[in-house]
Amino acid sequence: MHTSQTNNPVEFFSKNGVIYITLSGDVLTYNVEKDLQKINEPAQAEVLKIVFMPDGLKAWDSSLILLVYEVVRIAKNKGIEVDLSKLPQNLQDLVNMAFEVDRKPEHKSSSIGGLLEIIGSVTIGLYRAVSGFLNFLGAITLGLGRFLSFRSIMRGTDFCAALEDCGPKALAIVSLISFLVGLILAFVGAVQLQTFGAQIYVASLVTVGMCRIMGAIMVGIIMAGRTGSAYAATIGTMQVNEELDALQTMGLSQIDFLVMPRLLALILAMPILTMLADFMGMVGGAFVGVFLMGLPYQEYWKYAFNAFTLNNFLVGIFHGFCFGIIIALCGCYSGLNCGRDADSVGVATTRSVVYAIVWMIVVTGIITVICQEVGI
């Protein structure tokens, strides 16, 4: 006879082919791995019976149920008899309940298969994603057609609410960020230009940078994170709440009802926000030039306006227009393809921002190359 541990609420000892498991005191939050290893040891091959001895047992929790359950399970597999008769009746009942459910549920394996399987599933996934998005673009085109021919069921109040959200309510954050970006551009440029004594050209640098591209990009990033994600979350939550099902069974177009107001609002708001961002960026540059670098106020604005060209300004506004479409489409598409649980809404929201930013960069690249080719 030997004891395996001292002062342990669970102790094992064996005698004449019988393992006795004594339970004493409180068996609470007890880790069972070591004890189960003992039952599984090869030396226990000759064991005929396992007996639980709960004489000093005071309090217990799920960890004791787990210990008994696992001991009984292992013993069953090995053909060993287990005596639970001395255990409290409610503990025995709980162990029996755990054994009552013996059905193994069907569950699709999520393990990674072979290379061909991975290639196949990625290809199918890509095909579905591309065809789904193309279907969505087709539906948007039809929706625009209905809108232009006054057959859309888009509600004016929804459009106004969307416009208020992405217009006036976004002014403060767009102004602040654009001011800071203009300020940073001016600082970075000033350090280099000062070495040539050409610090006055900070005004030109900030004006061209903000108007041509930075204003639109900053507004795009802000609106993708602020408005595009909100679109995805709102429409995704409608999916969870069966509101999209209700629209579908009522025969109402989800595109007309949900996407068009948001798309049109962003198409209208983004160029205006881009103009604001351009101006606030120039103000930020002026702040550095005039107050920190000591450039004359009038001189600064003279150089700034000299650098301002209609081409640069319109290219920036066109960027804003394109970004508005991208943000609205990515937000709405992610929301409409959201799953039916809370987690899916988070995924849809994240996806909308990531898609929007990636597509904005891609479109910026395309516009830049085209402008370069046509000499704008």
Partner: protein, 251 residues
């Protein structure tokens, strides 16, 4: 005299992709029935409802509603049937950006020639019918879960439907609200002659309102029993149905 068939389902298989929930189901819902689709969790009750309402394409089979093939029929005919159907979703599925009246007026704006003033009056009437008189300008976030279901029912009744589908109407309701909703369903059926299809596993509701039913079984993926639920309780065709209808009592 034989009853007129409102919904005729033939050889219908329901599932998602390769996963079949139910195969080769055949049943009929007669006009004026309160028809219960019942069964244990995961047997495909809600998926069956999604097929009937056109939200989920079936794996195979036919759904004919008022003589229109809802799977392969002409889109215009199918749309006409949909316009004459109302659905009450588990959560009510009210549009949160609209007031209750606006929710109810939405299908009217799409499919009727009522003037805005008449639509507004009708919305008020529908709300009064479900016990929500005066709640026209409330938003869904301002009312309780039971009231949302009632408002959802008012919206389902907006176009005076021939068939109203209910998805788990008692889910999340206290016993009194649940009883009141059952009373409302019976009243709706009695006074308007509306055909009602209810997906539920709430026994009290099943016996209180149902006069015809099918029992779906997850294990065999078939219809295990059909008929009046009260008759099924008296003469259960098998152990599974008996246990379900008696809350697990062993036969």
């Amino acid at each position: 005299m034989s009853k007129t068939v409102a919904i005729n389902v033939k050889g219908l298989s329901v599932g998602y992709g390769d996963y079949v929930l139910l195969h080769d189901a055949d049943y009929q819902v007669n006009k004026g029935d309160i028809f219960i689709i019942m069964g244990g969790s995961g047997c495909g009750k809600s998926s069956m409802l999604r097929v009937l309402t056109g939200l989920l394409p079936p794996l195979k089979g036919e759904v004919v509603i008022n003589d229109v093939d809802m799977i392969n029929g002409k889109p215009r005919d199918v749309q006409k049937i949909r316009e004459k159907s109302g659905i009450l979703y588990q959560s009510g599925a009210l549009f949160s950006s609209m007031t209750l009246a606006e929710n109810i007026m939405l299908p009217m704006q799409q499919y009727s020639d009522y003037s805005p003033a008449t639509m507004r009056e009708l919305a008020g009437l529908k709300l009064a019918l479900v016990g929500l008189k005066g709640f026209d300008d409330f938003y869904p976030s301002e009312i309780s879960g039971g009231m949302k279901k009632r408002a959802g029912l008012a919206r389902a009744l907006a176009l005076d439907p021939d068939i109203v589908y209910f998805d788990e109407p008692s889910a999340g309701l206290d016993p009194i609200s649940s009883h009141n909703l059952d009373e409302l369903i019976i009243e709706l059926n009695r006074s308007l002659g509306t055909t009602i299809v209810v997906v539920t596993h709430e026994l009290a509701s099943i016996f209180a309102i149902g006069n015809n039913s099918i029992f779906l079984d997850a294990a065999s993926k078939t219809i295990l029993a059909r008929g009046d639920p009260k008759e099924l309780l008296k003469n259960p065709p098998n152990k599974t149905v008996y246990e379900f209808l008696t809350r697990g009592e062993k036969k």
